[in-house]
């Protein structure tokens, strides 16, 4: 694949790899879209964007294309929006294998299908060697929030129950394993998944869901901290209740990593009022992405803005938002 502007090679590539798979909404340079959901009184349009870089671009359980679709679908879904349309833009490193691009695009198409969204517009640029690493993907998403829904971190109240939909840290651990320089068990697969259907199921069963966050970079720890800070309440989680795959737990122990900080691509944490907690867990467990749903803690009035973990030994530990990577602190 050669570096260049709008030459024939590029047009062929786009036709061949991208356009055949995605379904542009018009032949113009823009997507022209209508949806009855949007015209309902009180409905809100939700719009989000994210860029994706991951090394390696293919890993057990997914690839960069799958993450690029799921990530944006999830950003919409956790806000209570039904995802409708995506755009996809690619920065491609000169020399990138076209077969790889095909696989990435194919998995985007599959994931979009599953999530019930359409990729309606896109763009590609090829840059010189070293100016990018294989391929970077940016997706933007539009969804609609039905009237009456208001999922937001500042809705969380003391007493609300925190629930995760599945095991923690699989994506982070899978990426470590896939880098090839670690003799990690390759059984660990990324949890990468779209959570739109799961969110709809939860909201049906527990209409007063307060807020949800997908626990991507920085892990569940960072998602909880964001909520605690926005809601100005404390959050107490219970170490024993955190769902962890034994392999991930083992790897974390050896590498000294805290699974609470490992990245996820299909894990969210949500808060519901206590009387809806059981219904929310049951609804999650009825979906493939929520099989391992679990209550992990509660919002409290103590220590506003702070997340605390009750440890196995009965003590407490503050679970901080970290500035950068996990750096040792013990002198």
């Amino acid at each position: 694949l050669a570096h260049g502007g709008g030459g024939k090679a590029m047009r062929d590539l786009i036709d061949d790899v991208f356009t055949s798979v995605f379904q542009p909404a018009s032949m113009e340079d823009q997507a022209r879209l209508t949806s009855t959901a949007l015209t309902e009184p009180g409905a809100q349009l939700a719009f989000t964007t994210d860029s994706f870089v991951v090394d390696p671009v293919e890993f057990p359980g997914g690839d960069i294309g799958k993450i690029a679709v799921c990530g944006t679908v999830n950003d919409l879904a956790v806000g209570g929006a039904k995802p409708l349309w995506l755009s996809a833009a690619f920065i491609i490193e000169e020399g990138c294998d076209v077969a790889l691009l095909r696989r990435i695009v194919a998995s985007m198409a599959t994931e979009a299908d599953k999530a019930g969204v359409r990729i309606v517009t896109g763009d590609t640029k090829v840059v010189g060697r070293g100016s990018a690493d294989k391929v970077f993907v940016t997706t933007s998403g539009v969804g609609v929030i039905p009237a009456g829904r208001n999922l937001a971190a500042d809705q969380v109240r003391p007493g609300d129950v925190a629930i995760v939909n599945g095991v923690l840290g699989d994506h982070g651990a899978a990426i470590l394993a896939a880098r090839g320089d670690m003799a990690l068990s390759s059984d660990i697969e990324s949890d990468c998944a779209g959570l739109g259907h799961l969110m709809e199921a939860v909201i049906d069963a527990a209409p007063n869901v307060r807020a949800a966050r997908d626990a991507t970079r920085g892990g569940v720890a960072s998602a909880l901290n964001e909520i605690a800070q926005t809601a100005k309440c404390g959050i107490v989680i219970d170490e024993d209740s955190l769902p962890l795959r034994p392999e991930v737990k083992g790897v974390c122990e050896i590498l000294g990593l805290d699974p609470l900080y490992l990245a996820n691509e299909g894990t969210l944490v949500l808060f519901v009022p206590p009387h809806e907690a059981d219904a929310a867990v049951a609804a999650m467990r009825s979906t493939p992405e929520g099989r391992n749903a679990q209550i992990i803690g509660t919002a409290v009035s103590d220590h506003p803005g702070t997340v605390t973990m009750r440890t196995r030994f009965g003590g407490g530990r503050i679970v901080d938002m970290l500035v950068g990577e996990q750096l040792p602190r013990i002198c």
Binding site: G256, L257, H303, I318, P328, C331
Partner: protein, 752 residues
């Protein structure tokens, strides 16, 4: 009045600064003035004590002020000025001029001998557990806010009976203005849970029977049991979920002497009004091994409240007195909190109705051949202030927020530094509350409005975040520069005193290059420093996990020394391959020059396996082994390559020699000793060279590794004739860090 000039020469104002309020200083001056036949007045004010005096022997009077001053008083400075003064005919104690005039409160003090006499002989305070006087008793732990006055303490709701009130008002009485004065008629009372008619007797009975009793003390609850009863100690360990961390002990001096050797210096330290826990070498009758498994030193303290005296007298045995808390949490101070948290640990709780306002752990100290060593600075030591070195008189007021694990904060004002009590691990939510409270609390108590704040470079220390949240100008100080400055400060090293070579052997602290330091020779002063030499860096496989599990450091050091077969041999059951890859790939394995982790690696090489059950366990074990090295084997040292002109101190040969000795069957005690000697000699050689070549004026020793008294000894010996500065007033560990941060910040602010 005819000879005016003569009158002038006998009239003086005397201004006394230091710890002179609430310690019986005014009655002392009053008595002294009467002895000298002098006339005038004495009063407390915002700066300390102010005397107007007409005295014909002023020089002798001033000498007597210093030599005969009350036990708890500490005079920093005395200024005298002649004044024109009328010839008063008497001497008078004046009440404080205005509210807020009394600015100082002294640390809590152990029960004085007079009060001990009083509770053990006939009289109205016989057997009374809350007896105190101007020379002893609670102070800071019962204080809500200043001025230090009964109404501002948790004694406020106990109304003095006429007998106590009379003592309180009588300048010739030992209880003149003793704010917590009390007697059985009017003061606090003991209680037992489950209830008992005679709480003291019940507690004694239970302790003698091998039960565990929680006891409300001065700065918090203790959990006690009979230290001679191995079953009781084992039960306490199990209930407190504290498998190996040594327990502190309490006994009378004669009792302690049955179990430990006590030198005159150690006796004096035990008997200090601060009544710290003092580490003493075990000798004589053995106590159950489970009190401090594997250790030849035990932490002892004397009874320091009347309640302790009465208990120990009747129990007749030494007591384990461990802090009353749940694992990792701060000590419990409230009665309800005690019932809730200590109820499952203790069989009964001995408590009382005088609230503990401030939580203060017992201080932990030791005597070395080179003076005192402060390991934990808390009850009895705070809020004592330290004078700032020359050159900082007019520096801006700052507050420094210290480290993360052994946190303490430091305020500076008026040429003085106030280092807070040991606060502890900021990952613990309750300790974090304490930290935030202490910040507000000390600021209010000392009417402190800092111009700037100081903190560590580490962005993820909670103390660093707290600093940036203040919104004040924030000076970030490299961890080991702060250790160096802390040592300089307590030694009164002048601000323009020139550069010193700091041997900083420590756990770890972040540097702005993203690596982690901890075994450095720094050259610098308060303001600036450079890194002259350092322990060759190795990975910390697993980050903080390398602190919990010493073997990780051994793995890193052996692999770095290309001793892969040795690594596979010694660490056969460990996930070597995976960690090797993590180190190569840079996955949670930062490079570090930490000396603490080097000691951990050595402990692992000598058989310390698994995880440490408390901080510093492996290094303490290594020191204990080295001390047991038989004299004929203890010679020699492991080689570290010493770069006299600066650079990395290479440990490759050391590990080859260790592995060689291991195969040759050399005892672990001898190997531990050779290791200590090697480390001391190598760092000493570099620092000595720096001084000898005129690039530094002296050597300063700081960092957590210097809690190791053997290392300190060997280091000082190896340094020979160069001037050495030690930490004897504040901890060399992170507990002293805030002092150094404050001084660095002040120096930098002034330099602008």
């Amino acid at each position: 009045f005819s000879d005016h000039s003569n009158l002038m020469s006998f009239g003086f104002t005397i201004r006394i600064r230091g710890q002179v309020q609430g310690v019986g200083f005014r009655p002392f001056v009053y008595q002294l003035a009467l002895d000298f036949g002098a006339a005038g007045t004495v009063q407390n004010d915002a700066e300390g004590v102010l005397i107007y005096i007409y005295c014909k022997e002023i020089d002798a009077f001033l000498r007597a002020l210093e030599t005969r001053c009350p036990p708890l008083a500490q005079i920093d400075t005395i200024e005298t000025h002649p004044i024109d003064m009328k010839h008063f005919t008497g001497f008078e104690i004046l009440e404080s001029g205005n509210a807020g005039a009394e600015t100082r409160v002294t640390p809590d003090a152990a029960t004085c001998v007079d009060c001990v006499d009083e509770i053990t002989t006939d009289g109205r305070r016989r057997g009374y557990a809350f007896t105190n006087c101007t020379n002893c008793g609670p102070r800071f732990t019962i204080l809500k806010n200043l001025p230090y006055d009964r109404a501002k303490t948790s004694m406020a709701h106990f109304e003095m009976c006429p007998a106590c009130a009379a003592e309180y008002a009588d300048p010739s009485d030992r209880r003149f203005h003793a704010q917590p004065i009390a007697c059985p008629n009017c003061g606090p009372k003991l209680a037992m849970s489950p209830a008992s008619d005679d709480p003291l007797r019940d507690a004694v009975r239970r302790l003698r029977a091998g039960e565990i009793v929680a006891i409300k003390g001065l700065g918090g609850f203790h959990i006690a049991c009979d230290a001679t009863n191995a079953d009781a100690v084992a039960k306490l360990r199990e209930r407190k979920r504290r498998p190996t961390k040594p327990f502190a002990l309490m006994g009378s001096l004669s009792c302690i002497r049955r179990y430990a050797s006590v030198s005159p210096d150690e006796t004096a330290r035990l008997q200090d009004p601060a009544a710290p826990i003092v580490l003493l070498h075990s000798e004589g009758t053995a106590l159950p091994e489970s009190i401090a498994p594997g250790f030849h030193e035990l932490g002892w303290m004397l009874p320091y409240t009347p309640l302790h005296h009465l208990l120990l007298r009747d129990v007749g045995r030494p007591l384990v007195m461990t802090s009353g808390n749940l694992s990792g949490e701060p000590q419990v101070i409230g009665n309800e909190e005690a019932a809730q948290k200590l109820g499952d640990i203790a069989d009964a709780i001995l408590l009382h109705d005088r609230d503990i306002v401030r939580r203060l752990d017992d201080s932990v100290e030791r005597e070395t051949a080179h003076g005192p060593m402060i390991l934990r600075r808390a009850r009895g030591r705070v809020p004592g202030t330290l004078q700032l070195p020359p050159g900082f008189e007019d520096a801006p007021d700052v507050v420094a927020y210290g480290a993360h694990l052994k946190s303490a904060i430091c305020l500076t004002k008026n040429g003085q530094a106030l280092l807070s009590h040991h606060l502890g691990d900021l990952d613990d939510p309750l300790t974090w509350d304490e930290f935030v409270k202490a910040d507000a609390d000390y600021a209010a108590l000392f009417d402190h409005a800092p111009e700037a704040v100081a903190c560590d470079l580490h962005p993820d220390y909670r103390s660093s975040r707290h600093a940036s949240d203040t919104g004040l100008p924030c000076i970030e100080v490299q961890h080991h520069h702060a250790h160096l400055a802390s040592c300089l400060a307590e030694n009164m090293w002048p601000r323009d005193g020139g550069r010193v070579a700091g041997i900083i052997l420590d756990g770890l602290g972040l540097c702005d290059d993203g690596t982690v330091w901890g075994g450095e020779v720094l050259i610098g002063d308060y303001q600036e420093f450079e890194r002259y030499a350092w322990l060759d860096q190795a990975h910390l496989p697993g980050g903080d996990a390398a602190n919990r599990e010493p073997w990780r450091n051994l793995l890193a050091r052996l692999l770095k020394a290309d001793l892969d077969p040795a690594a596979h041999d010694v660490l056969a059951d460990k996930p070597i391959g995976l960690l090797q890859q993590a180190m190569d790939a840079g996955v949670n394995a930062p490079l570090s020059s930490s000396a603490g982790r080097l000691f951990d690696a050595m402990a692992a090489a000598l058989g310390f396996d698994g995880a440490q059950s408390f901080e510093g366990e492996a290094a303490m074990q290594l020191e204990a082994w080295a001390r047991k090295a038989p004299a004929q084997e203890a010679g020699g040292s492991y080689g570290l390559r010493v770069p006299l002109e600066g650079g990395a101190i290479i440990d490759t040969d050391l590990w080859a020699e260790v592995m060689h000795d291991r195969d040759a069957g050399v005892s672990i005690e001898a190997m531990a000793m050779r290791f200590h000697t090697g480390v001391a000699q190598s760092f000493a050689a570099v620092a000595r060279h720096v001084v000898k070549t005129g690039r530094a004026q002296a050597v300063a020793l700081s960092g957590g590794c210097f809690q190791n008294a053997l290392l300190l000894d060997l280091m000082i010996e190896a340094l020979g004739d160069v001037p050495v500065l030690l930490q004897t007033k504040v901890p060399a560990n992170d507990g002293g860090l805030a002092l150094g941060q404050a001084l660095v910040a002040m120096a930098r602010l002034e330099a602008k």
